[in-house]
Symmetry: C2
Subunit: 264 residues, 2 copies
Amino acid sequence: MKAGYIQFTPQLNQVENNIKRLHKYIDDQINPDQVDLLVLPELALTGYSYPDKQSLGKVSSEKYNKLTVDTARKIAAQINGMVVIGYPEYTEDGFYNSSLLVASDKTIGKYRKTHLFGFESEVYLPGNLGFNVFETRLGKIGMMICFDWFFPEAARTLALKGAQLIAHPTNLVMPYCQRAMFARSLENQVYTISANRCGRDNWKGVLVFSGESIIYIPKGEVLSKAPVTGEHHDFIEIDLQKATNKNINSVNHIFNDRRPEFYF
Amino acid sequence: MKAGYIQFTPQLNQVENNIKRLHKYIDDQINPDQVDLLVLPELALTGYSYPDKQSLGKVSSEKYNKLTVDTARKIAAQINGMVVIGYPEYTEDGFYNSSLLVASDKTIGKYRKTHLFGFESEVYLPGNLGFNVFETRLGKIGMMICFDWFFPEAARTLALKGAQLIAHPTNLVMPYCQRAMFARSLENQVYTISANRCGRDNWKGVLVFSGESIIYIPKGEVLSKAPVTGEHHDFIEIDLQKATNKNINSVNHIFNDRRPEFYF
């Protein structure tokens, strides 16, 4: 199967226009036959910098939840595949920084960001769903969002639960993640697709996102890296069996070799 | 304080000569005032490739345990500091791939390699001491050995137990570790010193060690990297307070932000 990302640049407060631009990008630039799994950034349709619940409430509601699902399903239908998309989820309890795994006819899985970054905790509730793996016709897919990368336990938990591929929508501002995902893919022998945004939000000065969306294969090799700036996409051939075999040589099996009795 | 490594090249079966060469290297090349903590490689005095217990038994016994301790203490006295050294530990139950943290007048800590690599499990018992942190006058020091790096739980456990610096004797043959230690230092906000060996053992063909001993600071920056080949040493100024503060910004504390209820 072929999987990859679109490094997209949503504009704050312009959800409908962002959706229009995303559809146009896909129509113009993507061959639907060349992609089975498409990972989009964190908060892909709204932009990132909503400093308080009031401002976030203008782009997060039941209506916008539905709009996100509809948009993702439409794209999934277009590529005859699946889409991972980040969005600010509205619930009666409050907002979550969430992502969905969507097919054309259904929502397969939802994830709520477990480790909130910076000011996000003023706006979002911490994720309460844990790290779950979804068995799909394409393979076993797990999701984590942006800052979750910093905590090795996130990718580890997904991998131990069977994830062959970690879909990782991001809105990265720190310079570390793209480099550190090397360790996440290698130590878990999984594929990772970090779909970052680029561009900037004019918020508390200017917040600049770091682009360089990146795909690692289980051996830690980079198979795709987007530029720092500019919208971009890439899809690569993925053999999920490579993420199933946890033997790294004739002796060592990286999961069976674990010794949890000595771990915190 | 100043801490660092000697990238040394022991010769198989020539323990006494290796000790002589190591002392000469230190006498000739190292200013004792410039080092407080010296990390030596895994199996620093014996070499690596003993394919069975019989051959290992020729360099691992009570006599050699004592020789290792005496050598490390002598060096510790010379630098008026502490030494971490890897050695094949002899016990009545069998051999361990171990390391010691030694001062001039005492052994402060011992570690036994938890995750054995490749053929090692035919020769060594898996470590049974867990990951422990030793409070010393220099700071809180933890040890892990070589392949332990692959398991994020190793460095994580040491850091959660308070380690400010992870001393990491290695005999690396795979090309990944030096790069992946970026993640270990960053995700735990600790100093890491990977003291690798270089050179080769003539064993089952030729086993080539990868050199590039490396020191990372808590922010993931490389402060020292040795060449691939050739003996080498480096010592850098270390401020362990930087490994005590686990805040990476005004909001996020990488330990307090953990959510173990969702981790495997």
